[in-house]
Amino acid sequence: MQDSTFDLVIVGAGPGGLSAAARAGQQGMSHVLLEAGGAHANTIQQYQQHKHVMAEPSVLPLRSDMEFAAGRREAILESWERGISRARINIKYHCEVTAIRGARGNFEISTKSGTSIRGKHIILALGVQGHPRRVTVPGGDLPCVQYTLESADALRGETIVVIGAGDAAIENAIALSRSNSVILLNRNSGFPRAKDANAARITRAISAGRIKCFMHAEVRSLQANDARANGRQTSDNGAGAPYRMVISTQEGERTLACHRVIARLGAIPPRQLVESIGVRFLSSEPDALPELSSQYESTVPGLFVIGALAGYPLIKQAMNQGFEVVEHLLGRAVAPADHDILRDKFRILRGGGDVERIVNLIHKGLPIFRGIQMLALRELLLVSRLVTPAKGRSIFARGDYASSVFNVLRGEVHLGAGGAPMILRGGQLLGEMSLISGRPHETSAIAGADCILLETPHSAIRKLLRTEQSVRAYIDTVYSLRALRLLLMPHASPETIHALSKAVSLHRFAPGAEIFKEGDRIERFYLVRSGSVALSRRTGDQDTVVAYCAANSFLDALGCLSGETTRSLNAKSMVATEALSIDHASFKALLKADARLAAKMDAERTEQLTQYAHMQARPKAGNVFSYLMSHGLGEATSVLVIDETLCVGCDQCEKACAATHEGVSRLDRSAGPSLHSLHLPTSCRHCEHPHCMRDCPPSAIHRLPNGEVYIDETCIGCGNCEENCPYGVIQMAEKTPKTSLLAKLLGTKPAETAKTAVKCDVCASLKGGPACVRACPTGAAIRIHAEDVLELARQRAVALE
């Protein structure tokens, strides 16, 4: 191999590398695929046995000579194995690249074994998983330390220390805890890096005692026990375990006995190698991406970077990129894989037009997306759609629940909520208030002349919000401006609002967090942006809830307007809550200067005082309220509440639910908590920010304008929603196809179908509304909204007296 020169050298036999090599092999291009390990697709080889591998983004077509579809790890690896021989891929295993020198047409690649390979072009498809972060403490090189876990079932009865707080660590820990005693070491507290479903799963496992977890823990050393020590000095079970680990925690050092250590500390991107070739990166941040052209060519001509290393962690993306680079090298013009889909989407525009030009226009024209990568934008466009409503047509109506946001590409949109409409033009965003609050639209939006809008689902925007600081900042700013104008000063000039928005700060509160308490100095005036807050007053040794503030309402306007300097109420968030605030002194100055604002706030005060009087007179109402709130009614848009003084237990509600939902009732009447004769059966709350929607890989969960949250038939049965639902109302149910009488007589069993998630859909398909409520003969079953909770509590208190 010393003197051979290949047209193409591909480094890394992951999905991207395999796909590139397959294309080269098929087209007869001289190539070599270098793999550091002993097998192809190392990362996937290291997945747990039988893991379901997904093929996201599902709308993107696959372009590769290798097969790939969602399925079990084993099936995918096997099909690639076949693909390697079929496509005549020239693959070299155990060939770790240590250096690359040279330029286009004459690269020299050195490997660890000392050989050197020449190539005209190079594709780096290294991935980022191949280099796990190692345990560097004394004893970190002992044989008991491993960085992967192939099969959790192979281990039994061991004490295993899992280090890490990401998805891999959590998944390993949970799988191992079934037949082993697992200790999880987390350097921080909580699991912010993990998927929501995994974080929920591990938190539950820890609180149930199935897994022992040390937070703020670091490994200090690891050593083998001599036979006599026998683990007696250790503080945790695992007597007789062959290894001893010393860790530091906040409470001091501890010693753990263990049989095995699994370190899942993430991976180090092989940046050093890439940089040493001369490839420039976008920034000096450790997770920065290399600078690439639209053909994935790096700043070193002739050297291409694809896959996770280029910032595209999904298998299908990497495979498409491998294919596209080879096509490009063969001198063929390749449009990106999403080209046709986007072209169809853009067809609605007069003259259709050039996809690239339109994507560029959107990128430049919409400030919300200006800071994101082009490919991230294309991914977003794949799930978005262009709409061209006729002049005067409603885009959304006040009171509708939202499931998408809109960006004005051209023309104008009139936003109205009484008073003069606000006119939005090209580049502006609408629907951000509902996106943040999860509540219905506060305004109506009507299309103006020549209006073109880009409609993007909430789920896609939320994904961006999690990763893109620029999108977050933009939406926060727009929200502040609009909320101040809409909720506080509809009459003020844009300049005044703009100046005021500069003084606004944003606060986030965890569920149950104290925002302020009685006797605190009034320093800030809050506007609840999302979530809800209960205001209470201490009488004797009891907290009496006296008011409730949902999203888009002002917190303790009473106190802020009273001229008092200290708070007379306690404020506690009921669910995860966000609030805007301005400092109290500026607010008071504003009130003095603006008579219309003063009048508006006076009306707000009267309202809050009325509520206050009602609640204060009935401390019991506060108890009922707290009970309802503690079971998720603070974020509910439609929740079933049964009055036990009316319920005769006929189960008509359940029968109706089953009869209208393929025989499976989505509600369990008798399960669920009861207090003060109000029973909350296990049934969906249709939350404002549905927990189930957070982490749905195929985006199969949607919300309708009436607030209802439903799961469509694209559900893959991954169970994330079931895990994420804090109220336990989603079940994984097998679809049982109806068997004919003949089949029954012949004893033919219906084909086994995969389980999918089912939940209450508030009988979307039924004209009359939820069957459970309509079927209740005694009026015991009703569905209420979070806003009705206070009234329900008040009525219940009257009934109890």
């Binding site: 003084t645 009316l646 009869a659 399960a671 039924l766 005694t778 009026g779 015991a780 206070l790 009525q795």
Partner: protein, 304 residues
Amino acid sequence: MGLESRSMHQSFINFRHYRYGLIAGVASLITLVTYLLDRLRVPPNGGTWLGYTLGTIAALLVIFLALFGIRKRSFRSTIGTAIGWLSAHVYLGLAALLIATLHSGMHFGRNVHTVAYVLMCLVTLSGCWGVYAYVSFPGAMMQQRGNLRRSEFLRQIAELDSSSLELAESISPQITQLLAEAARRTDLGGGNLWKRLRSGDESTLLLGIGLAPRRSSLVSNTNQRALIRTLAEIRPGRSSSEVALSSVQKLLELAGSKAVLLQRLRRETQFAALLRIWLFLHVPLCCALLAALCIHVVTVFLYW
């Protein structure tokens, strides 16, 4: 967010501010006044012009009332709601009896017509009992069980059993055996409808298994009385095993708590059965009424 006084839960009695009560009341009043006025003209009789009118109205009402049984099971139906139908069923049912009575003109005899009328009275009567049950039992049931579900009752009973067994094991094998037997032979309620209605406790206890030198016998352990008595008979400190007084007291406390829980559980079961039993009368009687009504109508026209 204002405190608008939207009514949250409403029962079938006051559904839509007694809408059907008012309709039924007004209809009853009109028929009664017409009847009384007509009476001055001709003697009341099912065969008069008014008699036929009232009879037709009553028959149509009976058919409408019977349709509730179908509507209740049509879960996809959009014709009103179940609660509206029940409310109408109750009030119009009462009105129907009045109208039928006026239709009869108080002429009763040993004939099929009177049979139909008597059946109608029985159906209405059973229905009235049903209304009473629906209105008063759910609240009473709630009082019985507090905020406990049936499964929680069972769990608590099981917990009491296991703690008393645990305690007994530290005392003597005989007491352990006694308690284990008592637990095994405890009647948790349920069973056939009759038994549930009676709320009978068929718990038994096997006595004389090593505790006393008498022959073993199976006695009734209703409300755990036999067990409590047997435990009370243990003389603390006298036997060779020196049972501490505190242990015996603790066992008695546990048995007492279990008896109370069992009683509450059975009472709840009884209520649940009472809420259901009247339908076993109401529905067949209604079917009989429909049959009798058909015969009544046919014969009337046959002998026109």
